[in-house]
């Protein structure tokens, strides 16, 4: 038994650390570590820095401008970035559409879109969920009807993350009404400038604007924009949703948040005790440390299985469930421990002068915002169904 990375992997880890120390802008770290929202420019700037180093598309093969890294190297990179407080990369182009195009796209599509993802000319968003099709994605109703060289799209998508910044959207649309709902779905690429598209913001529980509704009214999209064969979009989508999810446990993000907690707990005093010495909060914090350590090793075990054979569906589902539980547990402790200091919404007033520990300002909004972790990307209930289906298979 050996939990250590190989010599090559350790050298790679050192290289990543050195790069981050040199190139990760402090103002971005300050934003992520205080839980403030990143702007479009923030995310684009970090993408550009990584792209200049050739490290933006971790999961793509080298011939398409990717890194060609092993699964272990990808994991090391993601974890080091999270620990260093780097902004989360925008997954829609890099981790979702890119691999899909590489696997199912035509040569023209690859040549057209992959470079634009890397250099930031395109910001992709995702059009999968609909008001009536969330967990049951296959019941989606947005339809695309053939009209000569075009499809005409009508319908509505929702929960489109950061769509307000995007210029393109990849969608699942119904191209055929067949008996089996999965069989009549196609995967299409849509330019958001096309007439007939309206994007409306959805305000979230923490007041943030992170997701959107997208309405399609007679939107004409060239037939050449389909990825994979017509009516085979479900296969494409399944590949996208199950493709390479080594970072799904979010160990690096949880580790960073737990570090932030410890720092805050040392700095903040309440009722004569530092929170770090408060027995009940301290007990919760050390339990979360144990949880995180177990998650870290479980994640490495799953990683080793992926490296040595094919990825197992239940690994990524179990990692998603436990990873979100641990992260939400840490953010809940962070909020809870601040007690009365977490109550004022000190951010919403420009002239506010309430003296809060700076750590307290975003504690509640960050907690509320991250309730999404157990809902999106396949809710934890859906993940349990996937695991149960495998465990109880005859």
């Amino acid at each position: 038994m050996n939990l250590d990375y190989s010599d090559t992997e350790q050298a790679f880890q050192a290289e990543v650390r050195a790069f981050l120390a040199e190139n990760l802008p402090n103002d971005l770290v300050a934003k992520t570590s205080s839980g403030r929202e990143l702007t479009k420019e923030d995310i684009e700037r970090w993408h550009a820095i990584l792209n200049a180093r050739g490290w933006l598309a971790a999961t793509w093969p080298e011939e398409y401008g990717g890194t060609g890294w092993t699964v272990v190297e990808r994991h090391i990179f993601a974890e080091e970035c999270a620990l260093a407080g780097a902004p989360r990369l925008l997954s829609f182009g890099l981790a979702m559409l890119g691999p899909v195009l590489i696997r199912y796209g035509t040569d023209e599509q690859k040549a057209e879109y992959l470079p634009r993802i890397l250099d930031g000319r395109d910001w992709w968003c995702q059009g999968f969920s609909e008001p009536g099709a969330g967990s049951d994605l296959a019941s989606l109703k947005t339809r695309a009807e053939r009209d000569g060289d075009h499809y005409v799209i009508n319908g509505q998508k929702t929960w489109t993350t950061l769509g307000q910044h995007a210029n393109r959207i990849f969608c699942l649309v119904r191209t055929s009404q067949t008996a089996k709902p999965q069989e009549g779905i196609s995967f299409v690429l849509v330019d958001l400038d096309t007439p007939g598209i309206e994007m409306r913001p959805i305000r979230l529980i923490d007041g943030s604007h992170e997701v959107n509704e997208v309405f399609f009214t007679d939107v004409r999209v060239p037939v050449a924009n389909i990825v994979g064969a017509e009516n085979e979009g479900w296969t494409v989508a399944k590949y996208l949703l199950t493709h390479e999810r080594t970072n799904i446990a979010g160990v690096g993000f949880s580790a960073r948040d737990l570090d932030r907690y410890h720092q805050m707990a040392t700095d903040v005093r309440r009722d004569g005790v530092s929170l770090a010495e408060h027995p009940l909060y301290a007990a919760q914090a050390v339990e979360l440390e144990a949880d995180l350590e177990a998650l870290r090793v479980a994640n490495l075990r799953a990683l080793a299985r992926t490296r040595d054979s094919a990825a197992s569906g239940i690994d990524s589902s179990l990692m998603k469930i436990r990873g979100t539980q641990v992260r939400q547990g840490i953010l809940s402790l962070y909020r809870s421990a601040l007690g009365h200091a977490a109550a004022p919404d000190a951010e919403s007033l420009s002239d506010n002068q309430i003296a809060l520990p700076p750590e307290a300002t975003r504690a509640a909004p960050v907690y509320f915002n991250n309730r999404k972790l157990s809902i999106y990307g396949g809710s934890n209930e859906i993940q349990r169904n996937i695991v149960a289906k495998t465990l109880f298979r005859d």
């Binding site: 969920s129 009536g132 099709a133 969330g134 967990s135 049951d136 019941s139 929702t158 929960w159 959805i202 305000r203 979230l204 529980i205 007041g207 997701v211 005093r269 309440r270 009722d271 004569g272 408060h278 027995p279 009940l280 909060y281 809940s332 909020r335 809870s336 421990a337 601040l338 007690g339 009365h340 200091a341 977490a342 109550a343 004022p344 919404d345 000190a346 919403s348 007033l349 506010n352 002068q353 309430i354 003296a355 809060l356 509640a364 909004p365 907690y367 509320f368 309730r371 999404k372 157990s374 809902i375 999106y376 809710s379 934890n380 209930e381 349990r384």
Partner: protein, 359 residues
């Protein structure tokens, strides 16, 4: 043994509940709860005319009720309707003024002419009154910083707990322009403020002792527990209804046993929350007051968190949106634990009581 509400309490709940249903709407909350003075002034005046504040003070002190049960009946409706108006600060301020024999001010408050807020905690003090650092000199000049003053924005009577050479005293500032009131909305709406006292002139009140103040804080805690019960009850109903109407995989998601069981657990916790609140209400003013109030606030903290998180999860994305009222109930239930001591603060208080009793 009888857990039925009296006819008077049933009528009060019904009348006030109907009033709140009409006035505490999501639209009005959006318009008022996060913008100074962080409450609905029109609805507040109408509420005063209905005489609801009478429930906070006993008849001999100018009110119409004043028992912990009266208070809990009112606050359960506040929770059910998710009102973010300044009831908690008014309850505690009014109570202390009444106990100090400030009959004229009590009358004015009952008539809606004035509104009090109570400043006791400080940036680093949220529970232990012995640590309060704000001081009063012999002329009644106050120096210090207060925080978590609920309902202070727009209030025109400020009650301040401050240390003098006899211990903890209670002071009244009638000219609120002499105080720097640093106002903000709370995360879940409603007003909160820090107060900066820099030799601010105040008048000492009679109801002054750590004991008296702790009693009023306990009443505030019981009020919050009752509010939580009302909010939880409403949220569990909303979640159950949502599961019945939301269709996925060709059926109502209420038909999934895994989800049904979670509603069952939430329902179980609402009953436990209601029961521990009844315990605390019945013990108010007895030797068990402190212990049962802390038990209630601790259990409610846990039950409210479970109900809030499960409600969001069971709604899926909808539960994460500002537009959906259930999200605000969930938010209120979480943030309730950040007022007048959370579950861990009250667990510590219970441990301290056990140690005291053993010694």
């Amino acid at each position: 043994m009888n857990f039925e509400r009296s006819e008077d309490h049933a009528m009060l709940a019904d009348m006030f509940g109907r009033f709140l249903q009409e006035t505490s709407t999501p639209e009005r909350r959006n318009d008022t709860a996060w913008t100074a003075p962080f409450f609905d002034q029109t609805a507040w005046s109408e509420m005063v005319k209905l005489g609801i504040l009478g429930a906070f003070v006993s008849e001999d002190l100018g009110g119409l009720g004043g028992s912990a049960e009266d208070v809990s009946v009112v606050f359960e409706e506040i929770g059910r309707a998710l009102s973010t108006d300044p009831y908690l600060g008014t309850l505690m301020g009014l109570r202390l003024l009444a106990e100090s024999g400030e009959t004229d001010l009590v009358k004015q408050i009952m008539a809606g002419a004035r509104r009090p807020a109570f400043a006791v905690f400080e940036p680093e003090i949220s529970q232990d009154l012995s640590l309060i650092g704000t001081v009063a000199d012999e002329d009644g000049k106050l120096t210090g910083r207060k925080s978590s003053v609920y309902g202070a924005p727009g209030a025109d009577l400020l009650l301040i707990a401050a240390r003098n050479d006899q211990g903890l005293g209670l002071y009244l500032i009638e000219d609120v322009t002499s105080v720097q009131v640093l106002a903000a909305p709370m995360q879940d709406g409603g007003g909160i403020a820090d107060l900066l006292l820099e030799g601010t002139q105040a008048r000492p009140l009679k109801a002054a002792s750590e004991e008296r103040i702790e009693d009023v804080l306990d009443l505030g805690r019981i009020a919050l527990c009752a509010e939580a019960v009302g909010a939880m009850d409403a949220l569990v109903s909303m979640t159950t209804d949502y599961l019945k109407q939301r269709k996925q995989f060709g059926r109502n998601i209420a038909s999934f046993q895994a989800l049904q069981h979670r509603i069952v657990d939430m329902t179980m916790w609402v009953e436990q929350a209601r029961s521990i609140t009844i315990r605390a209400v019945a013990s108010y003013g007895t030797g068990d007051q402190r212990r049962h109030t802390s038990m209630a606030k601790n259990l409610i903290g846990r039950a409210a968190e479970l109900c809030a998180e499960e409600a969001i999860q069971l709604h899926g994305g909808i539960g994460m949106t500002w537009e959906y009222p259930g999200a605000h109930y969930a938010k209120r239930l979480i943030m309730l634990d950040h007022q007048l001591g959370g579950r861990h603060d009250h667990a510590m208080r219970l441990i301290a009581m056990k140690k005291e009793n053993a010694a």
